[in-house]
Subunit: 140 residues, 2 copies
DNA sequence: TGTTGACTTGAAGTCGACTCCAAGTTGTAT
DNA sequence: ATACAACTTGGAGTCGACTTCAAGTCAACA
């Protein structure tokens, strides 16, 4: 039972900013592979597992959905994306979605500013419906 | 039964870009007042009702939650906000939330760009967790 | 021996904002 | 008479990403 044997789910949770429940949930929905078990059926995690979890944590912060991030989880942090043109394309697309989101939010700011300064709220509020799934994040 | 008698829920839905179900739902949760009824118990709407619904449609597009928009629904489109300092303050706060959202999304763009151009995904992905409720909208 | 404490499981509950459904009523057209 | 459309109601279902719960297992410690 030395320190080299791996990490408990609690330790994994601490290191990855996920909760234990969330880790089990990710395993259940197939985002994480089935974890190795100790003799007592407790899950045990190794460095590679933590790397994937940290990648999830990071991609989640970029507003990517759990489904969308599945293809990326095989990559190491500094693996060369140009070797995977499809992933590169997906990431570029994700970036463009976010850029569109920024543009749209800027339009909203303009509408609000118009109301705040000129007192006028446009009759036809020329903004589109919110899309079903857009990233949400916040400054640290 | 002339054209001056008001609007059916279907007509209201058409004019406000809400669905009939949504209008009934808004009434149920108290976002809209209880509608007048015709003799046959059908809801009937007047100009003022449509104005409120359009205001909802507009505020929704700015990412405001149904709860948050309740205080604003008494205002006409061009009523002077400076007469209502609390509402002005709320709207300013809403705007600042959106601005923070933009800043945060810009950070995400930067992280993704770093990966796309230098191939490096930061170990510590220095972005905060998504907040529970942030606006989502899209360009028209 | 008994009681923690860490872990296990499957299932149910949460959030907001709808959306859909089935059954019923009313008014009009054929 | 009868079909049909438009509306009514209460209630259930949906979405994603968890969170919470109850009940069980297992090893270590007093």
């Amino acid at each position: 039972m030395g320190e080299t044997a791996g990490f408990t789910i609690k330790q994994a949770a601490e290191q990855t900013a996920l909760s234990e429940d969330t880790i089990r949930y990710y395993e259940k929905i197939g985002l994480l592979p089935e974890a190795d078990r100790k003799m007592n059926r407790h899950r045990i995690y190794h460095g590679e597992d933590l790397r994937v979890m940290k990648m999830i944590t990071c991609l989640k912060k970029t507003g990517m959905s759990l489904d969308e991030m599945k293809p990326f989880l095989g990559l190491t942090n500094d693996s060369d994306l140009t070797a995977y043109p499809d992933l590169q394309q997906k990431l570029l697309q994700h970036k463009e979605n976010i850029q569109q989101q920024i543009d749209s939010l800027q339009m909203i700011i303009d509408v609000i500013d118009t109301k705040l300064t000129s007192g006028r709220m446009p009759d036809q509020c020329e903004l589109a419906e919110p899309t079903k799934k857009m990233p949400r994040a916040q400054l640290i």
